[in-house]
């Protein structure tokens, strides 16, 4: 089975989320401060917080050259060498001024398009805007970082790590696990009063809460002597849903019909009137509600509620005692999410429950997204709940057409409907 269809993905991303982050940077509206020469000069001498200026290889060479010429100038008291030294130092100052001008008026923001799926390529957009009147901006790069955020309160600070360098490296490597870093380059000129967007493609490694950060912006403009780095606090959190998995249906699970069926809030062809809507071309004339049309002086048609006569309820139990292998648990969650999406698309998903929680009806796309968000964060449950005693393979008495899961061998996962094995992953 492939990833979720485009329609679902598009429907799952609310329009407001695509432009979630606001503009930040020197060109952001709120970032503008009153211009004073004092501030400019001071900023040139003493960089602001979060700004670092490092010499590049050519910059180091220039500084070494300046030092050499300076020493020779002092040693020989030669004015030609003092002139050369002054010119070299002026060039360094010019480099700083041009670099400052290059950053000035530039704003950036993260443009995220959820949902993301574990193991699938995701796009993080970086919007750029140059608010300068006539100066373009060149040669910026952006350091992006995607890091999984553990649910729950942040861990307490640990005591100081002592050890050799190699131990520290191991600790750092551990801390960087689950991090994905990327660098985006502004390869073309960003014209004055212009905007552009850079896309970062990356693969979230696992489900869960993901924080995407713009960790830094750098530039070697104009001469490559100095590397100017700005740190930002631009970050966005979004959910990474479980990865879709391939599964095999063992038999066509036909949901047992119950007499009369249950009314759902979805539109369908049931007997209950759900709502009225405007007449659209192609609608049956028999559906026109004449009284309401007369009152409102426009044609209105009746919408009936669908009846969930063939639906399934999904019950995910996450007992750690049952799901002892982490890989198997991950497969369970992915399998559950995939089945939920498939059943919803087929209009057969009625409700879902996780462990002892009461079942939540799944009527709209938002309900399914909420379920997938829950599945993104679900972890094996340490304490056994009251429902744990019920084996997945046993048919549930209370409700019918309940889809449950149980380990299938050491690695696999099987889905059961009323105790009957229907699919494996």
């Amino acid at each position: 089975m492939n990833a979720a269809p485009a329609a679902l993905t598009a429907a799952a991303s609310p329009p407001g989320n695509s432009l979630a982050a606001g503009w930040q940077g020197p060109g952001a509206r709120g970032a503008r401060r009153r211009f004073t020469w004092n501030r400019v000069l001071w900023a040139l001498v003493f960089p602001q917080r979060g700004q670092r200026i490092l010499p590049t290889l050519s910059g180091t060479l220039l500084i070494a050259l300046s030092l050499g010429i300076g020493m020779a100038a002092y040693n020989s008291a030669n004015n030609i060498l003092f002139i050369t030294l002054s010119l070299l130092l002026s060039c360094l100052i010019l480099s700083g001024v041009l670099s400052w001008l290059n950053f000035r008026g530039v704003a950036w923001r993260l443009e995220l398009a959820p949902p993301l799926r574990a193991g699938h390529e995701a796009v993080v957009g970086l919007g750029l805007r140059n608010r300068k009147a006539f100066l373009p901006t060149y040669g910026l790069w952006f350091e992006l970082l995607a890091r999984h955020v553990e649910d729950g309160p942040p861990p307490a600070p640990e005591s100081t790590i002592t050890g050799k360098g190699i131990d520290l490296k191991v600790e750092w490597a551990k801390a960087e696990q689950g991090e994905t870093r990327g660098r985006l380059f502004l390869r073309e000129r960003l014209d004055p009063r212009g905007e552009t967007r850079l896309d970062w493609l990356f693969k979230p490694l696992r489900r869960g809460r993901l924080r995407v950060e713009l960790s830094g912006i750098g530039s070697q403009f104009p001469f490559g002597f100095l590397k100017k780095l700005l740190t930002t606090e631009l970050r966005e959190e979004l959910m990474v849903w479980p990865a879709p998995v391939e599964y095999r249906r063992l038999k066509e699970a036909a949901a047992r019909r119950t007499a009369g069926g249950e009314r759902t809030s979805r539109t369908g062809s049931g007997g209950d009137l759900l709502a009225l809507r405007r007449y659209a071309e192609g609608d049956s004339h028999r559906l026109i509600h004449w009284k309401a049309s007369a009152r409102s002086r426009q044609l209105l048609v009746r919408q009936f509620a669908a009846e969930s006569t063939e639906g399934f309820s999904l019950w995910l139990r996450t007992d750690a005692a049952v799901w002892t292998h982490p890989e198997q648990f991950e497969l369970l969650v992915s399998f559950c999410a995939t089945l939920a999406e498939d059943l919803f698309r087929a209009g057969q998903l009625i409700a879902a429950a996780i462990d002892d929680e009461p079942p939540v009806p799944i009527r709209r796309v938002n309900d399914l997204e909420t379920l997938l968000d829950r599945l993104a964060l679900v972890e094996p449950r340490k304490e056994a709940g009251p429902g744990t005693a019920v084996a997945a393979t046993e048919p549930t008495k209370a409700k019918r057409n309940v889809l449950t899961f149980a380990p299938d061998g050491a690695r696999g996962v099987a889905a059961y409907v009323d105790g009957e094995k229907t699919a494996t992953a």
């Binding site: 020989s76 002054s86 060039c91 010019l94």
Partner: protein, 534 residues
């Protein structure tokens, strides 16, 4: 991308073309410093100009050079440099030629970023060397043009780097795509389309700002003097120049370069005190041996104090006279000598700052510990500007020391320092000059000067004939042209052969330095005196 006003943008290929153009311009600008550098690098400069210009016009040409030749370049350059150094023995000219050779190679080969930076460093070196050695106004113009060009070049290099998605591999064979379709006219049109006049104006204003800031920094940089100075001239001046040496070795110099640079400026409160032909005396060379005149160790020991004095004032041997005091303010340029030029004895000498020096009062010589790295200023009060150094006890000392000890400084001024055959030749010449008569000192000096002037022409390309014996005597008895050192040395040898104590004096003339004969006698005046210059 949405923009208020869409302007075209240079493609990566066009940026490469611009980089090639600016790099070539930098190479040419740098190597043209040879025009006013006095080094033998005209051939290399011409070759570089032709080759780099050709590569600029036809950027595809470097691709025709087989790839294997690039591997041979580094060893070939090393061999060239070592050979150059070995053959000429001149460090700085060899480095300059090496620099030009490297620029030539970088100018005609496709460059990576590292090579571009090399071009700038190599070019800057050439321009700074030219500036230091020539102290020419052209330097100011050239370094400004070079700076503007280098900054534009670095900007383009940086833009290329940020626009590159994949960096080209170093040493990649073949002609790059940008070189295949280069049309300079089209590139010029594209650059004009891309350029915004407001940005160009701002760039020009910023460059003017750079020049202004440089001027301010130049004025604001604190100056203080360091000891043990370094001069590029020391590496460059293997070719002898007219100027001061504290020893004279005959036979070494084959060509002398006329140096007309300013050596000394003097400001006098009473101009009437300036002699018609001032004798800016600095050092005396009394010992002659193995074809070399130098200050003898004995005279150094007896005339100079043992330790150095660290002070800003020197007390002289003259005493104050009546009338308005006359102040002589000297501005002695660097790179000339550590011996200070003086007219004679003085009452007091003041330096601008504290100096380490030795004062040989009897010789009228002041020697600084090191050759000054910058111009040295000093003021002398009560200076005896006549051409006579009074030494009342000279005759007495000469007579007392005439016995066995020939190492005393006085008797060293009679020592010939040549072999027996050369002595015979010298005595023959003296007989020819004097006609066997015992002439007064002044008359002897006049006749010897005439004899030397008749026999030798003055030339900065002296010819010392090959052969056995003392080189100075070989020149003296020949008819070859010579320079001041040969004339003065011959004069001293002839005087000594005639029994007159004499030594070579170093002095500054009106325009340059030359040697002078200092001849001593006790027959008539009872005191030594400077007789005449040569």
């Amino acid at each position: 991308m949405s923009m208020e006003k869409k302007r075209p943008q240079l493609s990566l290929g066009e940026l490469y073309q611009l980089k090639w153009l600016l790099g070539g311009a930098l190479v040419l600008l740098s190597v043209w410093t040879v025009f006013y550098l006095d080094f033998e690098a005209w051939t290399l400069m011409g070759l570089t100009t032709v080759a780099v210009t050709a590569a600029l016009i036809r950027p595809g040409l470097p691709a025709l050079v087989p790839a294997w030749t690039h591997r041979l370049v580094f060893p070939a350059v090393v061999v060239f440099f070592v050979g150059d150094l070995w053959l000429t023995g001149q460090v700085l000219p060899a480095i300059v030629r090496l620099d030009i050779l490297l620029l030539l190679y970088r100018g005609i080969s496709y460059r990576q970023k590292r090579d571009d930076l090399q071009v700038i460093v190599l070019g800057l070196f050439l321009i700074v060397v030219a500036g230091v050695l020539t102290v020419s106004l052209v330097f100011a113009v050239q370094i400004l043009v070079f700076t503007a060009c280098a900054l534009a070049f670095l900007l383009v290099v940086n833009l290329v780097e940020s626009a590159e998605t994949v960096a080209p591999k170093p040493g990649e064979p073949g002609r790059p795509a940008w070189a295949a379709h280069l049309r300079w006219r089209r590139l010029a049109v594209r650059v004009r389309e891309v350029a915004d006049w407001r940005v160009v104006t701002l760039g020009a204003v910023l460059f003017v700002g750079v020049v202004g800031v440089s001027a301010l920094l130049f004025l604001a940089i604190p100056r203080f003097q360091l000891e043990n100075s370094l001069f590029l001239e020391r590496f460059a001046a293997k070719k002898a120049r007219t100027g001061f040496n504290d020893s004279i070795k005959f036979g070494d110099v084959t060509e002398i370069q006329q140096d007309n640079s300013l050596a000394l400026s003097v400001d006098v409160t009473d101009r009437s005190q300036i002699p018609a032909a001032p004798y800016w005396r600095m050092l005396v060379l009394d010992d002659y041996a193995n074809g070399t005149f130098k200050l003898s160790a004995a005279l150094r020991l007896t005339a100079f104090p043992r330790g150095e004095t660290m002070a800003s004032t020197v007390r002289g041997t003259s005493r104050a006279h009546g009338g308005e005091p006359v102040y002589w303010t000297f501005y002695f340029e660097s790179g000339i000598s550590r011996y200070l030029p003086l007219l004679g004895t003085f009452e007091q000498l003041r330096f601008r700052e504290t100096q380490n020096f030795r004062h040989a009062a009897k010789l009228g010589v002041i020697a600084l510990r090191d050759e000054p790295a910058s111009m040295t200023a000093y003021r002398v009060e009560g200076m005896n500007a006549s051409d006579t150094l009074a030494d009342a006890s000279f005759a007495l000392r000469l007579r007392e020391n005439k016995k066995p000890d020939r190492n005393t400084p006085i008797l060293r001024m009679l020592k010939l320092g040549v072999g027996e055959p050369d002595l015979v030749k010298l005595q023959g010449v003296v007989r020819e000059i004097t006609g066997g008569a015992d002439l007064p000192v002044a008359e002897f000096a006049r006749r010897t000067g005439d004899w030397l002037a008749r026999r030798h022409a003055y030339s900065l390309n002296p010819q010392v004939p090959d052969g056995a014996g003392d080189p100075l005597v070989r020149w003296l008895v020949s008819r070859e042209p010579g320079h001041c050192e040969l004339f003065a040395g011959s004069f001293v040898l002839l005087a000594r052969a005639a029994g007159l104590p004499s030594r070579v004096g170093d002095r500054l003339p009106r325009r340059q330095l030359e040697r002078l004969l200092e001849q001593f006698h006790d027959s008539q005046l009872g005191c030594p005196c400077v007789v005449r210059g040569v």
